[in-house]
Symmetry: C2
Amino acid sequence: MTKKISEKTIKDLGEFGLIKHLTQDVVIRQNSTRKGIGDDAAVIDHGNNETIVTTDLLLEGVHFDLTYVPLKHLGYKAVIVNLSDVFAMNAVPLQITVSIGVSSKISVAALDELYSGIKLACNMYDIDLVGGDTSASFNGLTISITALGMATPGSVVYRNGAKKNDLVCASGHLGGAYMGLLLLQREKKLFEQDPSQQPQLDDYQHLLERQLKPEARRDIITQLREIEVKPTSMIDISDGLSSDLLHICDASKLGCKLFANKIPVHPATDKLSTEMGMSPLVAALNGGEDYELLFTIAMEDFEKVQNMQQVTVIGHMTDNSEGTHMILDDDSAIPLVAQGWQAQEGL
Amino acid sequence: MTKKISEKTIKDLGEFGLIKHLTQDVVIRQNSTRKGIGDDAAVIDHGNNETIVTTDLLLEGVHFDLTYVPLKHLGYKAVIVNLSDVFAMNAVPLQITVSIGVSSKISVAALDELYSGIKLACNMYDIDLVGGDTSASFNGLTISITALGMATPGSVVYRNGAKKNDLVCASGHLGGAYMGLLLLQREKKLFEQDPSQQPQLDDYQHLLERQLKPEARRDIITQLREIEVKPTSMIDISDGLSSDLLHICDASKLGCKLFANKIPVHPATDKLSTEMGMSPLVAALNGGEDYELLFTIAMEDFEKVQNMQQVTVIGHMTDNSEGTHMILDDDSAIPLVAQGWQAQEGL
């Protein structure tokens, strides 16, 4: 027997199912709301320009573990994940608000560290910190950041603009952030078993940086503008290549073919995944947190994009009826699977 | 010996001290940032109009207790507190984003309740819900809401515009929300001692509504516009009359005289505070959460404002050197004291 929706647990629905369920009857009343729920960010019409709004909530124990995430890096990353959403709309982030919930166990010096990371990200990306909320908390650290950006009318790129035969492109390397997380978790476990053991992290500096200090791809947005290529659709890779490409397919009502051997993987990701007995593709497809840009371009823009050093063409869009698949070296096709978060068991 | 700032605890600094400490070196880089940290909301310049941004973070166990706050009311109130900040800038809220962190203990039906309150508030105030973030959580419920509003250039009212001799005005009644909270806490305690006892809440419907289902004063903003009065400064009363008037004094670099016998208190607040052996003024001054508007007007606007049914003149601004005082019936003056939150002890 199928459960009624009201009897379902958050676990039954999963992240994307829950969001869909809670927001399915949301009504848009204001003329100025150009785009509501369902993209990397909302878009508000302000006449001469459009305002981009996105927000992220980070919870201790879920999104970060303070035993191995330095607070300065946490602050930096918390800003970056929001800026990445604004860039993914082909817009420029300009302002953020930062709300934090802090328990009395956290020292002022620790909060200074957190804010030094937040301020560093603002400095690196020319962002103004314009407001927020500071609150006492019983349970650890909560960080909520909202970013505002600006775009000229007509320049915003949504998830739903991909066309059949468009090329699928990804920036940078994928899977590194997830391997960095596995590495930190492994070293934490070893340290707990034998505190005299120092963590062996030197070989994997790249992976640690991908996990602890990711960057948002402002450079890609700037380069695309310079070579006069406007992607037909775009999203940032926060949930993993698989989920995020499926978001574009869903929104654009198309299928896709993704070529496994084209997915850009850094040598360090290859090395550690081999060491751990897993495929680097699993990290790239399902790991998430890479904050690279995934976008589609019209075939005629291929020549221009080909010269971008940090962009790889990894597949193309197909008719909806062809489904969403990854093609392996032996030409076999395996279906792409979405992976959002799963509800946590209470501690 | 005085502690160095880095050795200080959050408790040493208190809410306002902590905010000041963390944000003192924040730099504004963007021309479009009209107002950053330090008012009810930030103001972004968009040429033909200004965008207002404000955000609030609500944590279970700190801002709400699910044993006596119905989830629908919680959702409603979470929206209202943000709209109130936008109205306090003399602007019109148009969009919100809602982020929630939920543990697996919370059912989908419970989240539906929460969202029904959020959607009801959107419906009542013509607000679009345009985005957010949904996250798994280990510890209870976290709600972070950001509101965006719009104002025509020149119409925004800041905290820092009060002039000497301006009249201090408050909308509605003060202290009711706090008495509602005390009532709920008392009845919860009695119920825990003897579960067969039903809560006695009928006489105090007004106070419960003030605590559980506050409204944002859109009507006051509209009326002021109709009678062509632009306040010289404005803030919403979220921390308590005392703290919020001090915010205006600080920002405007002025003192004030507040008259105790002018402070508008509802009969139900009078009744319950007498019953509990406390002064209703304590609730009005320090209770907070009334979400009324506190504003100053030029003396020449007095005639116009006098006819507003829901507005009371409660004092006037003085020279900075005269300090910030409340005047009692016997003409004695007692200094106003700011009360933000205090850091919570870890559980």
